[in-house]
Every structure is written in structure tokens, then in C-alpha cells.
């Protein structure tokens, strides 16, 4: 079993790097860090970066998670091989690009690319955005899964993530004290559904709500409160098909006492306030269940 240390970064392909960078800075209020012709990275907290936009023919979507030692990577490689999932060690160039010491990457059964990294760079300088959005850090990532059951065999079978709760078949996974860091959401295809940043409190969440309204950003869900994680959330459209969200006030898990609970599928299980939901997968959670065929999708490029 390989222990996950932290959620580290999300890497997203961009059609137009300038537009994506403008979104990250002006809408998300992240701090620009590195910028080349086909890469732009952004800081949200103590981590050197938590969001990267990439262009070019090799640009793929990925989620980066930290493990402690290179040995853990070896163990992960062996365990993934036992599940029949090919994984590759990152080259020195790959590691340099991501500012990590060592890494492996693989695609889960749905085709989501996961990167496990060792010694990712932390910043000695604190995050300082141009807009005071009150961001405290990258909180969680919602991943589409065409077969939650099978993908779960990686997350709980190899990566030692614990199931916190279910909403329909959507599965909230934790590997630290937060209620969840990864959510597997049943869907017809693979890909990142939403990247969520934590903000200080309800005031910052609502202030951002009105700022986004002024900036004419399409809010697709919320403001609302998730019954399972107790998070306040505000989800809005990103530059491409990946949504972004601000969250606040999520519950912390007491490992001794917590037991995974089943919440309803669909909007009722995702918002306790009754907010309007324009995310197809969230409205479609019940019917997505029937579409789970167990087939392995090809990796999304």
C-alpha cells in the first residue's frame, strides 16, 4: 500500500494559453509563477504551483499527488502492474518540468491520468495574489469515472485513500484530515470535472460570488452547501470543459468515529440549500449508474 501525502497540482491543456492565464489570474485570483510558450503555472498556497495550463501536442490533463519516497513509486508501479495498468517512470526532463525529484504516471481504468510525485517543490515565498479572493489552497479535485467501482480499486486498493461518503455512486475519498481530496463522479467519459480551491470562510465565498457575477462568469452550481462534506461551494465555468470551484468550511474527519454514509444521487445529495445545478453529470447521476459498463476508455488526450 502506498500512502498519499498531498494533493499537489492539476495540469490542464489550454487552447489559448493567454486566455487560460487570464482566467487563472483575474477570475481564480491565483498568482502567476512560471510562464513559457507552452506552460503557465499558478500558485495558490505554500506549494510552488497548484495549477498548470499547457499547450502543444503533448498537452494532457493530469492530477499530481505526492508520495514520500521513490520506494513508494516502485511499490505503486508493481501494484499497478498487478491490476494490469501500465505505468511509466518520469524522465529527468519530466521531473524538471513538474519541479519534482521523481515521478510515475498512469491512467486509471476510466482514462484519467494520475501522476505520483516525490519531493515536489514548495515555495519559500507565500502566495500573494493580485485580487483578494481569500484563497487558502487547492482543496480537492472531482474526477469523472466511467467505472467508479474499478477506479476505486486503485484509490483504496493501492493508494490507501479512504471512502468518506457516497452521494449516489459519487465517491468522496480522503487521505488526510479533510473530508475529501478526490471525488470519483460517475460519468460517460473520463476527465477532470472540477478543480476546487478553498477560501477562508463564508464571507470570502460570497464575496467571490458577487465578484464572479460582476465579471460575468457563468456560475454552474451554488452557492450551496454539500450535505456530505458540509463544504460551502460555488462552482463556475473554466476556460474549457473543466469547472472550477471555491469551497469553504468543509468538515474534518475523525478517523475513529467516521463511517461512510450514503447520500442521495443528483442535486439533492449535492446541495442542502437547493441551489440550481447546471452540471450535466450532477443532474444525471442516477442515470449514469446504468451506463457503467466496466469498459476501459482510452486515455483522454
Amino acid at each position: 500500500m502506498v500512502a498519499l501525502e498531498q494533493l499537489r497540482y492539476v495540469c490542464l491543456p489550454a487552447d489559448d494559453l493567454d486566455r487560460a492565464a487570464d482566467f487563472a489570474q483575474r477570475i481564480l485570483a491565483l498568482q502567476p509563477i512560471d510562464r513559457t510558450q507552452d506552460l503557465a503555472t499558478f500558485r495558490s498556497d505554500f506549494r510552488d504551483y497548484t495549477l498548470a495550463f499547457v499547450t502543444g501536442k503533448n498537452a494532457v490533463q493530469s492530477v499530481g499527488l505526492e508520495v514520500r519516497y521513490s520506494d513508494d513509486l516502485d511499490a505503486a508501479l508493481a501494484a499497478l502492474a498487478r491490476l494490469g495498468l501500465p505505468a511509466t517512470r518520469g524522465s529527468a526532463e519530466d521531473c524538471a518540468l513538474r519541479k519534482v525529484k521523481d515521478m510515475i504516471s498512469f491512467a486509471d481504468f476510466s482514462g484519467n491520468r494520475i501522476e505520483l510525485v516525490v519531493r515536489p517543490l514548495n515555495s519559500g515565498w507565500r502566495y500573494f495574489p493580485s485580487r483578494d479572493a481569500g484563497i487558502t489552497g487547492l482543496a480537492d479535485v472531482i474526477l469523472r469515472s466511467i467505472d467508479v467501482e474499478k477506479d476505486l480499486s486503485i484509490w483504496s486498493g493501492i493508494l490507501n485513500a479512504q471512502v468518506s461518503d457516497w452521494a449516489g455512486d459519487a465517491t468522496y475519498l480522503r487521505f488526510d484530515r479533510a473530508h475529501h481530496r478526490i471525488v470519483l463522479f460517475p460519468a460517460a467519459r473520463a476527465g477532470i470535472l472540477c478543480v476546487e480551491y478553498a477560501v477562508e470562510d463564508v464571507n470570502l465565498l460570497m464575496r467571490n460570488h458577487y465578484v464572479l457575477r460582476d465579471l460575468q462568469v457563468a456560475v454552474v452550481h451554488g452557492p450551496g452547501r454539500r450535505p456530505a462534506s458540509e463544504q460551502l461551494f460555488l462552482t463556475f465555468a473554466g476556460p474549457k470543459d473543466v469547472h472550477f470551484g471555491f469551497v469553504a468550511e468543509g468538515a474534518l474527519i475523525d478517523e475513529e468515529r467516521h463511517r461512510p454514509r450514503q447520500f442521495p444521487a443528483g442535486p439533492a445529495g449535492l446541495c442542502g440549500w437547493g441551489s440550481e445545478c447546471k452540471i450535466a453529470e450532477f443532474n444525471d447521476a442516477a442515470s449514469a449508474r446504468t451506463r457503467q459498463t466496466g469498459s476501459v476508455a482510452s486515455a483522454k488526450a
Partner: protein, 289 residues
């Protein structure tokens, strides 16, 4: 000095008593306490009633405050008459209708109809709303003023109210520890500007926001948070254009000696620290119009 103890109830005339009752129960979430001839009395907390809709002109609006002793009614009447205000001692039947032991009626300098009541009835049964709005009780009113400085002086010098904060010239006045029980809004008319009910949590404010918006109740301000009282709020329009507010987390002022009122700007930022913009006439215009 007229010692106001609490805001007691509001009486609103309406041309459509059934419609107003439906709004108050199904939407606002109040409970019918009792019905009388051409009037419906509504409950929001432990008190027998805190809102009354009666068949009449929508311009006929009254706010009532509780005093401690019967003698306070007499002292108040003398004080008001000395200032040249006409005071009426209500009949026993009128008092019975309102479920109070005794009351006097007068108009404040702007012409707002005010009643001072002694021994208003409490219910033995707790409030259980028509819907789960999370209401914990009727809490404050916005009152129209045609001269903010004059009316502030009336409520703070003739009565016992203290200024907690000002938004422009709109004074938020407290009569107990709650940040404000009366809010004076400069405008060109007399009447009740808004009626506030407290709800248990910020979640209740948001749940009601979606509940009411879904039912096409006109939202006029919020959801937001007041920089003055720190309460989370939602304003919406009820029958006859009356503005209702839900709020949660209103600040309490425990230390009368140390507290100092603050001046906030009369613009959206003075009313909301989240960035909501009011669609309420009295929150938008400094002067008439």
C-alpha cells in the same frame, strides 16, 4: 423618557387578506395564531402574535413596542402630549383584539403609527411554522423617516433608543443588546420600510433564498452580509410591496460604555460586505425620489 422594552408586533392593512395570509404562512413561514373578523394574527416566536394582516388600506401600517409598567404608558402619554403629539388611549376591545392589556397610540414626527403596549400576550405553545424557514422570531423593523436628524432625536431623546451605527443618515437604533431594533431610512413617506425575522443559521438564509427564488418571489437585496450588524441577510418583497428580511447572526452590543457607533457610506458597500446591490428604493436614494 419613554422606555421601550422590545418591538412587539406589526399591523399591516391589505386589500387581499387571503393572499397576504398565504404569503405569510406558505412563503414567509409564519404560523396562524388566530383569526378574527377581517384580520389574521401570525406567530413567529413564543409571543402570541407578532404580525397582523387586516382588511384595509395597505398604507395603514402600525408598529408596536412593549413597555414595562402600566405607569410607563401614562408617563409616555404625558411626555408625548407635552411635545405636542396627539395620543390616544385605546379601548378595552381594541386591546383585547391585540391580545394586550392596555395600549396607547400616537404618530412619530414622520407620521409613523406607533403603539405602546403593556402586557402583550405570550403563547403557551411554541411557534411551529408552515414551512421550515428556521425562523427564531420577529426581530426588528425599518421605519421611514422624512427627516432623519429629527426622528433620530425623537427615538433617542424622547425614547430610550441608542444609535448603534449610521449608514449615511440612516440610523440603526438599539433598545436592548441587539444591534438594532429600529432602523430609520430617509424617504418621502411614512410607514414601515421593512420587517425582519431572525433565522437560526446562515444556511436558513440561503435555503430560503433558493426556496423563494424558485417561487418567483421578487428578491430585492442579497443574499449578503451587513458590515454594521454582521448579520447575513436576504430581502424580498411580500404583499403590497412590503419588504421582508431574514437575517442571522446579528451582533449584540454588551458593553454600553465602550461601544462607539460607526459611520458607513450610503452605498451598496455600506449595506453589504459581500457585494450584493440593493434594489430597495430606501437603500439606494439618499433623498426623495
Amino acid at each position: 423618557m419613554i422606555n421601550l422594552q422590545a418591538v412587539c408586533y406589526v399591523r399591516l392593512g391589505t386589500a387581499d387578506l387571503d393572499g397576504a395570509t398565504r404569503f405569510a404562512t406558505h412563503y414567509l413561514g409564519l404560523e396562524i395564531a388566530h383569526r378574527a373578523k377581517d384580520a389574521v394574527y401570525l406567530k413567529s416566536d413564543q409571543r402570541e402574535h407578532t404580525l397582523c394582516y387586516f382588511a384595509g388600506s395597505p398604507a395603514d401600517q402600525t408598529a408596536a413596542f412593549e413597555v414595562r409598567d402600566r405607569a410607563d404608558l401614562e408617563t409616555a402619554a404625558c411626555e408625548l402630549e407635552r411635545l405636542g403629539r396627539r395620543v390616544r388611549l385605546a379601548s378595552a376591545e381594541e386591546a383585547e383584539l391585540r391580545r394586550v392589556r392596555s395600549f396607547i397610540a400616537f404618530e412619530d414626527p414622520s407620521g409613523n403609527k406607533i403603539e405602546l403596549v403593556w402586557r402583550p400576550a405570550y403563547g403557551s405553545r411554541r411557534y411551529h411554522g408552515e414551512r421550515d424557514a428556521g425562523i427564531t422570531g420577529f426581530s426588528h423593523i425599518g421605519l421611514c423617516t422624512t427627516d432623519a436628524a429629527r426622528d433620530e432625536a425623537f427615538w433617542t431623546e424622547v425614547c430610550n433608543a441608542r444609535v448603534s451605527d449610521r449608514i449615511g443618515d440612516a440610523a440603526l437604533l438599539r433598545i436592548d443588546e441587539v444591534h438594532h431594533t429600529i432602523a430609520l431610512f430617509p424617504t418621502d413617506r411614512a410607514g414601515i420600510q421593512h420587517i425582519n425575522h431572525q433565522v437560526a443559521t446562515g444556511d436558513d438564509v440561503m435555503r430560503s433564498f433558493y426556496f423563494l427564488a424558485e417561487r418567483r418571489v421578487p428578491m430585492v437585496f442579497g443574499p449578503g452580509r451587513h458590515p454594521t450588524s454582521s448579520a447575513r441577510f436576504l430581502y424580498f418583497e411580500g404583499p403590497d410591496g412590503m419588504v421582508f428580511e431574514y437575517s442571522s447572526g446579528v451582533r449584540e452590543i454588551a458593553d454600553e460604555l465602550l461601544y462607539r457607533e460607526r459611520q458607513l457610506p450610503f452605498d451598496p458597500k455600506g449595506f453589504c460586505e459581500w457585494g450584493a446591490k440593493p434594489q430597495i428604493k430606501e437603500f439606494r436614494n439618499r433623498t426623495n425620489g
